[in-house]
Symmetry: C2
Subunit: 280 residues, 2 copies
Amino acid sequence: MFYIIGLGLCDEKDITLRGLEAVKSSSRVYLEAYTSILMVQKDRLESFYGKELIIADRDMVESESGSDGILKDADKEDVSLLVVGDPFGATTHTDILLRARNLGIPTRVIHNASIMNAVGASGLQLYNFGQTVSLVFFTETWKPDSFYDRIKENADGGLHTLVLLDIKVKEQSEENLARGRKIYEPPRYMTVPQAVSQLLEIESLRGEGVLDPEKTLAVAVGRVGGEFGPPLHSLVIVGKRLHHLEVEYGEMFAEKQSGRREGRERWRKVAREVYSVALD
Amino acid sequence: MFYIIGLGLCDEKDITLRGLEAVKSSSRVYLEAYTSILMVQKDRLESFYGKELIIADRDMVESESGSDGILKDADKEDVSLLVVGDPFGATTHTDILLRARNLGIPTRVIHNASIMNAVGASGLQLYNFGQTVSLVFFTETWKPDSFYDRIKENADGGLHTLVLLDIKVKEQSEENLARGRKIYEPPRYMTVPQAVSQLLEIESLRGEGVLDPEKTLAVAVGRVGGEFGPPLHSLVIVGKRLHHLEVEYGEMFAEKQSGRREGRERWRKVAREVYSVALD
């Protein structure tokens, strides 16, 4: 059996009992380590699960030869691929599942929380989210802005937008890439201030009034289930179809974040005056 | 500490290790049993978790007196509320969390998979979903159709729509309600054929061409993580922004479902001709 197992969002204890059983029964356990990151290190996972973990990088999971290596003998014994969040967060996992099935290998997916549903911890209702967008690191010459149209589509329908922030793991510099040197840059994670700055850069170029520093509410989402601190972070652009319970839940964070009543008052003021939410 | 713990989608083994720890440390454990259902019975959960479970119905979780009962002494000892899926699937849980915090009770949410992210198991990319809609049981006189506009908004943007199907748990008949008798009807779960029939009924009334039995692709989603069979089921209306990998993943189900190649061929034909997906 080939298992793809979601690890959830935070640490080694977020695996499900069903997932842990599969890990323990597996002769090889891979840890996918590029579409997202856990808050804990590999060795801590290894000692907790009592299994050695083989790091599976992008080459391995996405190439045919690499994935054939992962799937080797999975028709005769159990093999697991561990994935941060839920297995269906990234296209690459449907890909390897398709390959397994074409090879006649039985497969099983073990689900877990991912940012796509745990973003509900912001207090914003999942029903009111539109399409999700990704924001990549801009360079001097490459500033893809298709996310802007999608946020606008969502905003026009009054919907919230989950903005996933770029991570760069095992990336090569242009020089190392050109010279074929397998030397990798340290991992980089986009922060919320960087994301906001990129969003406003595109707003100033496009000028369609989708994002306004004075009039758009947004919620920064940290490690859901852990403490706010290290990456990954995400951002939610709040849509106009906003319910007073969503405002009330969010204002706890506004107060905490700014460390004073002012943040909360400003949050409520914009909700009332710009979003037209009836509040006491 | 007041814990709200997601149980995931399938059975007693879908709880996370963190969730199980919280259950074991709690002096009282409530099981919320109306916004969704698990595939297993209460007594099986009780023997597996080694804890007696107190059923929390809608009156209990949503009323102030009821939730105060749940939250009693949670400032001094651990109390858990178990919820099918993830705690942020339904408004009611932000409500009880807000109440706890207003009472000065520390809270912690333990996330899990829910249909909102596990629907990725359909092979349809979560990025390409628009807003989620709910479909309630129609009666002779009550056929709310606001979902139609939302599916249309999603379809106009090329997006998929997750349609959550109604469940009726602990509902009273009009007569019993009128007479104040606490007698409840057996639980009812909307099936996919019922859902399709209601959708097409509204299409024929509204006539805006959003749904067409010959031209609209849809995926029925069963118990994700379990075998397709008992409720809950959900339905995805497939949007036009469809990727060939999504078609290829979906065709496995089309074949399995119809039990012959015909289903698969029809799925591919509509994907190619109506959705304009380039396929081999």
